[in-house]
C-alpha cells in the first residue's frame, strides 16, 4: 500500500501528540491515584483514630467507675455497660481469666488459648500489653457475638494493677475498610472522569494540531514537493522545464538543485547534439574515404595483376634471350677458332714472304747503300712528313667536324679517316721513297729496273701480308671481345632472369598485400557504417530532449 509523504508526516505528528497526551494522562492519573491512595489511607487512619478514641474513652470511663469498687460490684457495672450497636466491655485478670464477658458462659474461664484465624493469642497478647505498657491497642480478627465469622477488630486494654484487673473493650473496624473502599471507588471514579476528560482534551488538541499541521505541511512541504513531483512526472525530456522555487528551505534548495541540474543537462545534451552531428559527419567522411581506398585498392589489385602477367611474359622472354645468348656464345667461339686458324695460315704466308725477303738481301744491301747516299734529300723527306702530319691534323679536324655533324657526317668521317690513314701511309712511304730515291741516286743504271720491280713486289707482298695479319689479329681481338661480350650478355640475361623471378615473387606478395588491404578496407567500411548507424541512433536519442538555446538556461538557476 502506498503511503504518501503527507500521511507519513501527519501520522508522525499524530502519533507524537497522542503519545505525549497518553504519557501526560498516565502520569497525571498515576499521580491522582497515588494521592487518592494517600487520602484513603489518611481517611482510614482518621476513622481508626476516632474508633480508638471511642473505645479508649469507654474503657477509661469503665475503669474510673470500678476502680474503687469491690469485685462483685464492679462485675455488675461492667456487665451492664453497652455502647453503639454491639459495643461491650469485659473485665479480666492478669491470668487471662474472664471476670465478666458478654457471653456469661465464658466468665471464670482461662482464655489463654483463644486465637484468631491468623493464629494470634488474643487474650494473652492483650494481657501482655496491659502488663507491659499499662494500656494499649491490639488488632486482630474477632467473633461477632451470635455469628461464626470473624471480622477485623481493634481492642483497648487498660491495666488496673492495684485491683489485679484489666478492663478491655473492642470495636469491629471492617466498616472502616468498607468506608475507605467506597472512598477509593469514588476517587477512582473521579480519576476515570479526569482521564477521560484529559484524553478528550488531548484528542481535541490533537485534532486541532493535526489540522494546523496539515495546513503547514501541505503549504510548506508536501505542496511544493507535489508540485516538483508533478512537474518531474511530466518532464518528458523537456529541458526547458523550470521548477518554481518556493522559499529558501530544503524544498527550495531541492528545486534550485533540480533547476541547476536540468540546466547542466540541457548544456550537456546541447554539446552531445553538436558532437553527434560532428560524429555523424566524421563517420560519413570515414566511410567515403574507406570507399575511395577500397576502390583504389581494387584498381591497384588490377594493376598488380597486369604487372604480374607482364613480368611472367618478361621472365619467359628472359629465358628465350638466355637461350639465344648461349647460341651466340657458341657461334662466337667457332668464329674465334676459325679466325685463329686463318691467322696461322697468314703467319705461314709471312714466313714464306720472309724467305723471299732473304733472297732479296743482296738487293737490300744495295738499297741500304743507296739510302746512305740519299741523306741529302732528308730535308725533303721532313717536309713531306710535315705535310703528312698537317694532313693528319686536318683529317682529325675533319673527323671532329664529321662527328659533330652526327649521322650526316658519317661518310665525311669515313673519308677523313681514310685521309688520316693516307697521311699515315704517306709518312710511312716517305721512308720507302727515300730509299727509292737513294737507289735512284746511288745505282742509277745497275739496279734501277730490277731493284725497283723487286722492291715493289716485296713491298706489296709485305704490305698485303702485314695488312692481312693485322686484320686477322684485329679480328681475333674483336672476336674475343665479342665472345666475352656474348658471355657477359648470357650471364647478365641469366641474372636478369633471376631478377625477373624475384620481381615476380615480390609483385605476387604485393598482390597478396593489396588483397589484404582490400579486405581490411571492406571491414573498415563495415565498422564505419556501424559507427554512422550508432551516430544516427545517438542523434535520434538526443532529439528526444527538448533543449533551449545557449545562454537561456543560465537564468533558470539565478
Amino acid at each position: 500500500m502506498k503511503i504518501t509523504l503527507r500521511r507519513k508526516v501527519l501520522g508522525l505528528i499524530a502519533v507524537s501528540v497522542l503519545l505525549t497526551a497518553f504519557v501526560i494522562t498516565l502520569v497525571s492519573a498515576l499521580s491522582i491515584v497515588r494521592r487518592a491512595d494517600e487520602k484513603a489511607a489518611a481517611y482510614k487512619e482518621t476513622l481508626l483514630s476516632e474508633r480508638k478514641a471511642q473505645i479508649k474513652g469507654y474503657v477509661e470511663m469503665a475503669a474510673k467507675l470500678v476502680e474503687n469498687l469491690p469485685l462483685e460490684e464492679a462485675k455488675k457495672i461492667v456487665r451492664g455497660m453497652r455502647y453503639g450497636d454491639k459495643g461491650y466491655i469485659w473485665l479480666q485478670d492478669y491470668h487471662n481469666v474472664f471476670l465478666t464477658y458478654v457471653d456469661p458462659a465464658e466468665e471464670g474461664k482461662d482464655q489463654t488459648d483463644r486465637v484468631d484465624p491468623t493464629g494470634r493469642h488474643i487474650i494473652d497478647e492483650l494481657t501482655k500489653v496491659a502488663r507491659d505498657q499499662g494500656e494499649g491497642f491490639l488488632n486482630y480478627y474477632g467473633y461477632v457475638p451470635g455469628q461464626q465469622d470473624r471480622r477485623p477488630k481493634i481492642s483497648f486494654a487498660k491495666g488496673m494493677p492495684r485491683n489485679g484487673w484489666i478492663v478491655i473493650s473492642g470495636l469491629y473496624i471492617d466498616d472502616i475498610d468498607r468506608a475507605v473502599a467506597e472512598e477509593q471507588a469514588r476517587i477512582r471514579h473521579d480519576v476515570s472522569i479526569t482521564i477521560a476528560v484529559q484524553l478528550g482534551v488531548a484528542l481535541a488538541a490533537t485534532a486541532l494540531l493535526m489540522l494546523g499541521s496539515a495546513f503547514f505541511v501541505n503549504r510548506y512541504i508536501t505542496g511544493p514537493l507535489e508540485r516538483i513531483t508533478r512537474i518531474m512526472m511530466h518532464f518528458n525530456n523537456d529541458l526547458t522545464t523550470t521548477i518554481p522555487v518556493a522559499g529558501s528551505d530544503e524544498v527550495g534548495d531541492l528545486a534550485k538543485w533540480l533547476n541547476e541540474h536540468i540546466a547542466g543537462l540541457n548544456k550537456s545534451i546541447r554539446m552531445v547534439a553538436g558532437a553527434t552531428g560532428g560524429l555523424h559527419n566524421h563517420a560519413g567522411a570515414i566511410s567515403s574515404a574507406i570507399s575511395q581506398q577500397s576502390s583504389f585498392a581494387a584498381q591497384l589489385s588490377s594493376s598488380v595483376a597486369e604487372m604480374t602477367s607482364t613480368m611472367e611474359e618478361l621472365s619467359a622472354s628472359a629465358v628465350q634471350i638466355a637461350q639465344h645468348s648461349q647460341g651466340v656464345v657458341e657461334r662466337a667461339d667457332r668464329t674465334l677458332a676459325d679466325t685463329r686458324s686463318g691467322a696461322a695460315e697468314v703467319e705461314a704466308l709471312t714466313v714464306k714472304i720472309s724467305s723471299i725477303n732473304s733472297g732479296m738481301q743482296a738487293n737490300l744491301a744495295e738499297i741500304v747503300e743507296l739510302g746512305r747516299r740519299s741523306k741529302e734529300i732528308t730535308k725533303i723527306m721532313e717536309i713531306i712528313n710535315n705535310i703528312a702530319n698537317q694532313t693528319k691534323l686536318i683529317a682529325f679536324n675533319a673527323a671532329l667536324e664529321a662527328a659533330s655533324a652526327g649521322e650526316a657526317g658519317k661518310r665525311f668521317g669515313v673519308v677523313a679517316v681514310e685521309i688520316r690513314r693516307l697521311a699515315d701511309s704517306v709518312v710511312e712511304s716517305t721512308a720507302e721513297i727515300e730509299g727509292k730515291i737513294t737507289e735512284i741516286l746511288d745505282a742509277v743504271n745497275r739496279l734501277v729496273m730490277s731493284s725497283e720491280k723487286t722492291s715493289l713486289m716485296m713491298q706489296q707482298s709485305q704490305e698485303s701480308a702485314s695488312h692481312t695479319v693485322a686484320m686477322l689479329n684485329s679480328m681475333v681481338d674483336g672476336v674475343e671481345e665479342s665472345t666475352d661480350s656474348a658471355r657477359q650478355i648470357s650471364l647478365s640475361t641469366k641474372q636478369q632472369q633471376i631478377a625477373s623471378g624475384q620481381v615476380l615473387l615480390a609483385i605476387r606478395e604485393i598482390d597478396q598485400g593489396v588483397r589484404q588491404s582490400t579486405d581490411s578496407a571492406r571491414e573498415s567500411s563495415v565498422v564505419a557504417g556501424e559507427l554512422a548507424e550508432l551516430a544516427d541512433k545517438l542523434k535520434s536519442l538526443v532529439t528526444t530532449f527538448k533543449i533551449e538555446p545557449d545562454g537561456a538556461a543560465a537564468g533558470r538557476t539565478g
Binding site: N389, Q390, F396, N397, L400, A403, S404, D477
Partner: protein, 133 residues
C-alpha cells in the same frame, strides 16, 4: 651528339683518343673544337694537360699537339697533349664507371669513366668539369 645523352648510355659516343705521358685519354668530340700542331693559331696561353692533371715533372714530348676544347661556360681553351691517336665511336655499354673509392676524387679532375681498349685502358675526361675544378 649530346654528351649528356651519351653519359646516360643512349647513343654511341664519338670519342677523340689521345695520350699524355703514356696515359691514354678519351674525350667526347662534342667538347673538341679543333686539333692543331703546337704553336699554330693558339688562343691565349695554352694549358699543359700533364701539368694540370698534377702528374709532376715537365712535359717531354718533342712534338706536342694542341687541342682546342670547350671549357666551362662555353669558353674556348687550348690544351697541349702528347699525341692524337684516333676518333672512334664507343658503345655506351663499353664505358665502365669508376670504382667508388676513386670516383669522387677523379670526378674533380674531370674523369667520369673508363673505356677498355685492346691492351690499354682509356680514361674518359670531361673538359667542362676539368676546367671548372
Amino acid at each position: 651528339m649530346n654528351g649528356e645523352a651519351a653519359k646516360r648510355g643512349i647513343f654511341p659516343l664519338p670519342v677523340l683518343f689521345f695520350s699524355v705521358g703514356g696515359v691514354h685519354y678519351g674525350v667526347s668530340t662534342d667538347q673538341v673544337l679543333s686539333a692543331a700542331a703546337r704553336g699554330a693559331s693558339e688562343d691565349g696561353e695554352p694549358l699543359w694537360f700533364q701539368r694540370e692533371m698534377g702528374y709532376g715533372g715537365e712535359p717531354a714530348c718533342p712534338r706536342p699537339a694542341a687541342v682546342a676544347v670547350k671549357a666551362a661556360g662555353g669558353k674556348r681553351l687550348t690544351v697541349l697533349i702528347d699525341s692524337l691517336e684516333e676518333i672512334a665511336e664507343v658503345a655506351p655499354g663499353e664505358i665502365r664507371p669508376l670504382p667508388p673509392l676513386v670516383a669522387r676524387h677523379a670526378r674533380r679532375k674531370g674523369v667520369w669513366g673508363v673505356i677498355p681498349r685492346p691492351g690499354r685502358m682509356c680514361l674518359l675526361i670531361d673538359f667542362a668539369l676539368w676546367t671548372k675544378s
